[in-house]
C-alpha cells in the first residue's frame, strides 16, 4: 500500500492471490474513496470495469496468482 507516485494523494493498493486458486474477497477502506480503478504497475488505469464499491467496501475477485493494483481516489 502506498501513495500514488504522481503526488495526487491517491492511495495505491497492490494485492495478489498467493494460493493458486480463484479467490473472492473484500477490501474495507478506512477513508472515503471514489472511484476505485484497476491500474498497471505505473498506476495508469486499465479500461476494465472498476470493482464494485459500496459503503467503503471493495468487492474483489482474483484469478489464481493474479496481481492486482487498485488506485483509490480519496473523496
Amino acid at each position: 500500500m502506498k501513495l500514488a507516485d504522481d503526488g495526487s494523494g491517491d492511495v495505491v493498493v497492490r494485492l495478489y492471490e498467493a494460493l493458486g486458486a480463484r479467490a473472492a474477497g473484500r477490501l474495507t477502506l478506512g477513508f472515503a474513496a471514489a472511484p476505485v480503478v484497476v491500474t498497471d504497475l505505473l498506476e495508469r488505469p486499465f479500461d476494465t470495469p472498476p470493482p464494485g464499491l459500496t459503503d467503503g467496501v471493495v468487492a474483489l475477485v482474483l484469478r489464481p496468482f493474479r496481481i492486482l493494483t487498485l488506485r483509490l481516489r480519496r473523496s
Binding site: D5, Y16, G20, D40, L41, L42, T48, F65, R66, I67
Partner: protein
C-alpha cells in the same frame, strides 16, 4: 534474486524515466543478469504494458541447459511474454568469430526463427561497445585505427572473465540432492522410471502391509492409483448430474442447465456461454468468435460473423515457398460463392473459378471452405500451370485447422492487457526490439 515487488519498482522507475525524460513508452524488459526469476515475471512484464523480455542469465545454470532461445514464457498465473535468450551465451560480446560460431551452433530455434540477438559491448559493468568493437563490427572491419597514436593495429580482444564464473570455477559444485529426491520418490533420471517401477512392484508383492498399506519411500510413487476425477461431493468416477439437465430453446439455440453449469449454444452450434452457477463466473471469453477455430484464415472466415477481413494476399505468398503449388483463396460473403485459384508455379498467373454447387463446396450458410471437396470432385477449372499440365483444384496445405495459416500477429490492444496475447509467436525482428514509438 529479486522478489516480485522489487521487480515492480525496477520496472516502474525504468519505464517512468523513459516516459518522462524521453517521451518514449518502452515495450521491452531487459533483464540480462538476474540470478533467478520470479515466477510472476511474465505477469509483471505484462502489467507494465511491455511486450517482450530479453534475459541472458539462463546461460549459467549449474545443472541443466535451457532448451529454447526464443519462446513464450508462461508465468505462474498463465500470463505469457515473448522472450529471447541470446544464444551467444554472453552479454560481453565483441562479435568475434568465436562468439558468432558459438551462437550459430547453439541457437535452438534455428530453422524456425530467422534471427537471434547479440548483446554487444561491455555488458558486465556497462558502457556499451568500445571503439575497437565497433571497428570489428563494421563491414570489412578487422583492423581499426587506434584512437591513441594513430597507428594501425589489429584489434586486441580483451576477454574479461565474469567474476562470478571465476568463483564458480573455484568453488566445489554443490552436491545433487539425490538422496533426498530418492526418499521423496522422485526418479533421479527420467530413464530410471521403468526399472524403478518394476522394483516397486516386487516390493509390493513382498510387502506384509499389502497393496493397501501406506508405505513410505520410492514405491509410493508407483503405487499411487491414477488420479480419478472427483465429482460433486468428492465422489470418484464420472459425475452423475446433481440435477437433471434442463434444455430450453433460446431463439435459434439452446440453453442447457443442470443447476451447476449453464451452457448456451447458439443457432450455429457454437458454445457461446458457460456459467458456473456457484460463482457466476463466465468461462467463455466475450466476443462473437467464442469456441470457433481461429487457427487459419479459412477457419476465421468460416467460423462466425464479425470476422476480420482476410489478410492481404501478398502476405500469404510471402510466407509460402516459391513454387509451392496451388493455392486457393476464398472470397467471403454470401454473394461471392466462388473460389479463386491462382497458380504460382512457373510464373503463370492464371485464374480459375470453379463453380460451387449446392452440396458442393458451399454448404449451408457459410462461405466455401477449401477442405470441403465433395465426393466425385468439384467441377473445377484447370490451372494450366507447369505441374503436369494442370492440377485440379484441391486443397494442398491450406486446410481447415492446418498449421500453415499465417500467424495472428498479436495486436497491440488498445484496452487492458492483463494477459499477454496467446497468438502464435511472431518472428522477432531487429527493429522490433528497439522502441517503436
Amino acid at each position: 534474486m529479486s522478489g516480485g515487488e522489487a521487480l515492480v519498482r525496477q520496472l516502474v522507475h525504468g519505464e517512468r524515466f523513459f516516459l518522462d525524460e524521453l517521451g518514449v513508452e518502452t515495450e521491452e524488459v531487459w533483464l540480462p543478469d538476474s540470478f533467478g526469476y520470479s515466477a510472476a515475471l511474465p505477469q509483471l512484464v505484462t502489467l507494465s504494458r511491455s511486450r517482450w523480455l530479453l534475459t541472458q542469465e539462463i546461460s549459467w545454470s549449474q545443472f541443466n541447459r535451457f532448451p529454447h532461445h526464443t519462446f513464450w514464457w508462461e508465468g505462474l498465473d498463465g500470463s505469457r511474454v515473448f522472450t529471447h535468450f541470446p544464444p551467444v551465451d554472453t552479454y560481453n560480446t565483441e562479435l568475434s568469430g568465436h562468439e558468432m560460431g558459438h551462437l550459430v551452433r547453439s541457437f535452438a530455434e534455428k530453422g524456425r526463427a530467422h534471427r537471434s540477438l547479440v548483446p554487444f559491448g561491455w555488458g558486465d559493468g556497462g558502457g556499451g561497445p568500445t571503439r575497437e568493437m565497433l571497428g570489428r563490427a563494421a563491414p570489412g572491419g578487422g583492423a581499426v585505427v587506434g584512437h591513441r597514436g594513430g597507428a594501425h593495429r589489429a584489434p586486441v580482444p580483451v576477454r574479461r572473465a565474469r567474476p562470478d564464473l571465476e568463483e564458480g570455477a573455484a568453488a566445489p559444485v554443490p552436491r545433487h540432492p539425490a538422496r533426498q529426491l530418492h526418499r521423496l520418490g522422485a526418479p533421479r533420471e527420467p530413464g530410471d522410471l521403468p526399472a524403478r517401477a518394476r522394483r516397486a512392484g516386487g516390493d509390493r508383492r513382498r510387502s506384509p502391509a499389502g497393496a493397501g498399506g501406506q508405505r513410505r519411500g520410492r514405491a509410493r510413487l508407483q503405487r499411487r492409483p491414477a488420479r480419478a476425477w472427483r465429482g460433486p461431493g468428492g465422489r470418484r468416477g464420472p459425475a452423475e448430474p446433481a440435477e437433471p439437465v434442463a434444455v430450453t430453446v433460446d431463439g435459434a439455440g439452446y440453453v442447457l442447465d443442470n443447476a451447476l453449469v449453464r451452457a448456451q449454444v447458439d443457432g450455429r452450434g457454437l458454445l457461446v456461454s458457460v456459467v458456473d452457477a456457484v460463482t457466476g463466473r463466465e468461462a467463455i471469453a466475450a466476443g462473437p468468435r467464442a469456441t470457433s477455430c481461429r487457427s487459419t484464415p479459412t477457419c476465421r472466415a468460416a467460423g462466425t460473423p464479425g470476422r476480420r477481413p482476410h489478410p492481404p494476399a501478398h502476405r500469404h505468398r510471402s510466407r509460402r515457398r516459391r513454387g509451392a503449388g496451388d493455392r486457393a483463396g476464398e472470397r467471403h460473403g454470401r454473394r461471392a460463392r466462388a473460389a479463386r485459384v491462382r497458380h504460382l508455379d512457373g510464373g503463370a498467373d492464371d485464374h480459375a473459378r470453379p463453380r460451387l454447387t449446392p452440396g458442393g463446396l458451399h454448404r449451408g450458410d457459410r462461405p466455401a471452405r477449401v477442405g470441403d471437396v465433395p465426393e466425385g470432385g468439384v467441377p473445377a477449372g484447370r490451372t494450366g500451370g507447369s505441374r503436369g499440365g494442370g492440377d485440379a483444384v484441391r486443397p494442398r496445405r491450406h486446410r481447415r485447422c492446418g498449421p500453415r495459416g499465417p500467424p495472428d500477429q498479436p495486436a497491440r490492444a488498445a484496452g487492458p492487457r492483463l494477459r499477454a496475447s496467446r497468438a502464435p509467436s511472431p518472428r522477432p525482428s531487429t527493429t522490433g526490439w528497439s522502441s517503436r514509438r
